[in-house]
Symmetry: C2
Subunit: 263 residues, 2 copies
């Protein structure tokens, strides 16, 4: 198969958690050099705080239209655009990289016709973990609690498996207005395997204005008032049996996963 000559390009980038000083120079350069910025409106605003736009065409879309957004980006590249598709965090973690790949998969001639690259960023879970110490310092899992695109039964099955395997777990999309009660069900599954004193990091909007990082116990996480503070801008990191807290004067305690595990 002779590939169609490359016209434009799509670069799928992650801004990192939000503050300009956590975005990689590579991504900054790609934002500057682009002809088109494509993304959820709020992430385009974040990008504009990192790199002053200099005439790039802005393609702002609503949340939850990832497939259309990805296809639009590829179409702009076919027309010759240097298109950046913008996610916060890492585009490879519950973000736009998979959506772009799905569109390439659906129209495989594009996979050879358009130059596509993906550029990682610091994820929300990593940013929350850094603030709290080292809760992801050893074996861990990253799960989304959203059942928009997978059945809830699979989510419970995965939580049960990682609970039984004593893995630290970082939960994305933990709780929304449309599904306020599933988070409690997820906590119940983990409590089958972990004690109520297990440390939990609740990180919200880390790296952005209004950031908060709280350390609670798994027992507290089962309480309604603690759950009420958890939303879609929150990452929740539930420790393993080995996760440990270290008290600090006047601050939230450190949480870390030891490097060793006695089994």
């Amino acid at each position: 198969m002779t590939p169609t000559p490359v016209t434009g390009r799509v670069t799928v980038v992650g801004l990192g958690p939000g503050s300009p000083d956590s975005c990689s120079p590579e991504v900054r350069d790609l934002l500057e050099d682009a002809s088109d910025w494509v993304g959820y409106g709020r992430y385009l605003d974040l990008a504009a705080d990192i790199v002053e736009p200099t005439g790039q065409a802005m393609h702002r879309t609503n949340n939850r239209v990832e497939a259309e957004r990805a296809r639009h980006a590829l179409d702009l590249a076919v027309e010759g655009g240097r298109v950046v598709v913008i996610s916060s965090g890492d585009p490879g973690v519950f973000a736009m990289a998979s959506a772009v790949m799905e569109q390439l998969d659906a129209d495989r001639t594009l996979a050879s016709a358009i130059e596509v690259t993906v550029h990682a960023g610091i994820s929300a879970a990593q940013a929350a973990a850094a603030r709290a110490g080292a809760p992801l310092g050893h074996d861990f899992c990253v799960l989304s609690l959203s059942d928009n695109l997978k059945p809830w039964a699979l989510i419970e099955r995965r939580l049960d498996a990682v609970g039984a395997a004593d893995l630290v777990v970082a939960l994305y999309n933990p709780r929304s207005r449309h599904r306020p009660d599933q988070f409690g069900l997820a906590v119940d599954v983990l409590r089958r395997h972990r004690g109520d004193t297990t440390p939990v990091v609740v990180g919200r909007s880390v790296g952005r204005p209004g950031e908060s990082v709280r350390v609670v116990t798994l027992g507290q996480l089962a309480e309604a008032d603690v759950q009420a503070e958890v939303d879609m801008a929150t990452v929740v990191i539930v420790g393993s049996s080995q996760s440990t807290t270290i008290e600090r004067a006047g601050r939230e305690p450190w949480v870390y996963a030891p490097r060793s595990h006695p089994d």
Copy 2:
């Protein structure tokens, strides 16, 4: 408890995968501002490629002495140093953040006496994933295959659990000269749950000179000659039942995890 006045500080930083343009500006600034650089020699060299040293004291240590290195960094801070502890990738993922926390835990007066902060970086798994497409685009696990600090039986149990839960898994420290055969055992555990056509990303030294990213199948990963290419500088990402490849003319195929799962 009245905390002892803060003297120096320890900042635990991650350089990202290696190339200067993937290191965050925040970490760059911390490297510049430090009085002391502490780390495995190779990582100090990487840091010097990112920020020209301007008289910082260099504390180069061998690999595998994380506890002593962390304690030394804290001691330098007690003496008033502005100490950076340097990891490649993310210091919070199988790197120095947990080692520093362990030392604070062992001498808890230090936790209030010294200013300690952790600053995330793009991890090796994220860098390899970005090169390959979006293999970590949905629920995934990150496991180390090193049994230096945990029993091999626990590693097999975790592999079995994440295999049964159909989670993508990124394997760190997959294979060393001292344990050349355990990697094959790990592959065997995953093959109990996944078909031989499951896509696998084998990323070596991503972001550094000599980088290679290969896409193989899980069946191929069971072969000795493929395993022989896997070493401690390699991250191996084994897909789920849903992971998909997209052929590209003249290149390794893309690998991605779809956003949806039918269960």
